[in-house]
Amino acid sequence: MRRTTGRLLRGLALLSTLALGATACGGSDDDSGQKAVSAGDIQAALKKGGTVNVWAWEPTLKSVAADFEKKYPKVKINLVSERSGDKHYTALSNAISAEKGVPDVAQVEYFALGQYALTKGLTDLAPFGADKLASKYSPGPWNAVSEDKAVYGLPMDAGPMALFYNKKIFDKYKVAVPTTWDEYVEAARKLHKADPKVFIAADAGDAGLTTSLLWQAGSRPYKVDGTNVEINFADANAKKYTDTWQKLIDEKLLAPINGWTDDWYKGLGDGTLATLPSGAWMPANFVTGVPQAKGDWRAAPMPAWTKGDKASTENGGSSLTLPALGKNKELAYAFVKYANAEEGVQTRVKQGAFPATTADLQSSEFQNTKFDYFGGQQANKVFAQSAANVADDWSYLPFQQYANSIFNDTVGKAYISGTKLADGLKAWQDASVKYGKEQGFTVK
């Protein structure tokens, strides 16, 4: 999850998406990738050696690459880490449409996978044996990378959501930590009344958060079947979300701060923001971004939409993929598998990454890890429980990247101008449908 783009980059991304669409019509000369690749082929390739170009920003991949090179001395991993999602997708789409400089391995977030998979930008990993890895991963991430029998990447991390809350603030004003979203609204009122400077959360309109909450509420606005797409935000479960969030907006209980800005980090540190519903990867950002509030924060399960309901949701998370135009497919796959299904997972978990593999999620070592930042809380227990409770039938649009980029022009209006949230969602739906049709999808 990262902040949505500036207008300029948004335009660029759009441009490259169009270019990507254009190449999809023309090129399909990657039949060689579809032949089955045996474990023997991969071993032979590892012995022969070569270079694998990897575009990824995940910080722990650096040591994974070093370990891999140690294990297979003839293989060189050339890790290009640009550490920023928007530029990453722009560059990736540009390279694919120019058919030049395409990396052998690319990190792609779950929400953006559909876009690349559908335009044949990615290699199907099933012939490499990736389809047999399904049982290794928790259902949410696996569902995100696979479609029918095709597997478009191996899940690298997951973002089961939790409610991070500032215990110091809740204790100070003697407010109970909410377990349902109704209690959440109530807590928001109490805290803001006790101290007008305190807000329950910062939300200035964020596509990732909105889709995650809809997911948790049981709404399935996007139905995707190949190029047939259905978009509908008008079901009863979506209403649960709009009703609740509308109260928070109307009563001005949300701080109008954009996520991932310095203001946001400041608000998390100085007690302005009492909670943060976010993915399980958040602790790393807390540690370096909000050092002054060490010990104040804790993690709790996401509030439920109806009391006793355990449904959880994902936010963010990404996979490693093999772009169709990349080279050294066997080596590339060997690296991806090493990083996301074999020894690499351990290395990454030790450095604070959140795994998508069930064995690691359930290991006692992982679950018993004490977080100094959260006052010694074994926060992974909360996250692992959340991961287990994620419904696996969610899908994003094949052009979610575009849809997210227009979120602020549609739903975002509800946050600033008195438009109703439900109307905002309708506008988002209409704009997404229009774009989908222009791109050649059959959209309802």
Binding site: K87, A95, G101
Partner: protein, 315 residues
């Protein structure tokens, strides 16, 4: 040249006697406005606002470069935090991520030396030729240069990217250097400057004395063009030093990033899952980035000012 200087001096006692009494009417107000400028409250206020507008961000930058990440969040923006961490920040800026900041600094220098230097060279050669030689199509070139001045470089970046990508030049330093070589504004400035600064009679004299065109250019014209060259060099240096958009779309490999792009990458780490938040290094890095520019301006100020004033006074 010396007369205007004494007139401008505010300590000239003769003028305090009484303007308008003995002096002719027309001269009175002129001397008044040059020698003893009338104080305008409005102008003073506007100038002060402008000064605040331009200086406050610099002060903010300098103050905040002394803070740690913690200090940044829990202290006021325009005053120091308890901890003074400037030296630590500078050291960390240069050592963070295997000293990549130094690499970016050297990249920027490379782009400036080759890009801005090359652009200046081309502008000087082109401007001189356009000013002092007659050839068919000159008017057309004039229209083209003026037109090119009006097109912002940003608008050309994407088409340039597509072109360079076809030639296989993207993701190499050349993708940044080659477009930087073209400076329509610099060319126009050199053209105008050369027209004014080099008397055609001088060139004719040199030619009559038997000097070839190359010799005429290097020994006669170039020294006369020096102030103009420095002006153009400053313009192109600043433009290349601050260039962000072109490298952004041309470069992928962060090893070739200039400082502008590198710093934005550091900044965006805060927006990345699991990314380390290093606002303190971003701010310190920004401060270090503008230091060479300030130094260049101070050092070249003399030439730059005489360049600006060239042709403004009739000799």
């Amino acid at each position: 040249m010396s007369t205007p200087v004494t007139t401008a001096s505010p300590s000239a006692p003769a003028e305090t006697g009484g303007p308008g009494k003995s002096a002719p009417r027309l001269r009175g107000p002129r001397r008044h406005s040059v020698g003893k400028p009338k104080r305008s409250v409005l102008l003073t206020v506007m100038t002060s606002l402008l000064v605040i507008y331009t200086v406050v961000p610099l002060i903010w930058l300098a103050i905040n470069a002394t803070k740690t990440q913690t200090g940044l969040s829990d202290s006021s923006g325009l005053w120091f935090a308890h901890d003074f961490a400037l030296w630590d920040n500078i050291r960390d800026t240069f050592t963070y991520d295997d000293g990549v900041f130094t690499r970016w600094l050297l990249n920027t220098l490379l782009y400036v030396v080759l890009g801005a230097g090359g652009a200046t060279l081309l502008a000087v050669l082109g401007g001189y030729a356009l000013a002092k030689f007659d050839f068919p199509g000159k008017r057309g070139i004039f229209a083209m240069v003026i037109g090119a001045v009006a097109v912002p470089g940003t608008a050309l970046a994407v088409p340039t990217f597509l072109m360079f990508s076809k030639m296989g030049l993207t993701d190499t330093p050349w993708a940044v250097i080659i477009p930087s070589l073209v400076s329509p504004f610099g060319l126009y400035l050199m053209w105008v400057f050369a027209t004014e600064a080099i008397p055609t009679e001088l060139l004719e004299a040199a030619r009559i004395d038997g000097a070839g065109e190359a010799r005429t250019f290097f020994t006669v014209s170039l020294p006369l063009l020096a102030p103009g060259i420095v002006t153009v060099l400053l313009f192109t240096t600043v433009a290349t030093w601050n260039n962000y958009f072109l490298p952004l779309i041309m470069l992928k490999d962060s090893d070739w990033y200039p400082l502008t792009l590198g710093l934005s990458v550091w900044n965006s780490q805060a927006e990345t899952i699991g990314g380390e938040v290093i606002y303190n290094l971003v701010i310190t890095g920004s401060l270090l980035t503008i230091v060479p520019l300030i130094a260049a301006f101070l050092l070249l100020q003399k030439y730059w000012q005489s360049g600006l004033a060239a042709g403004s006074v009739k000799e």
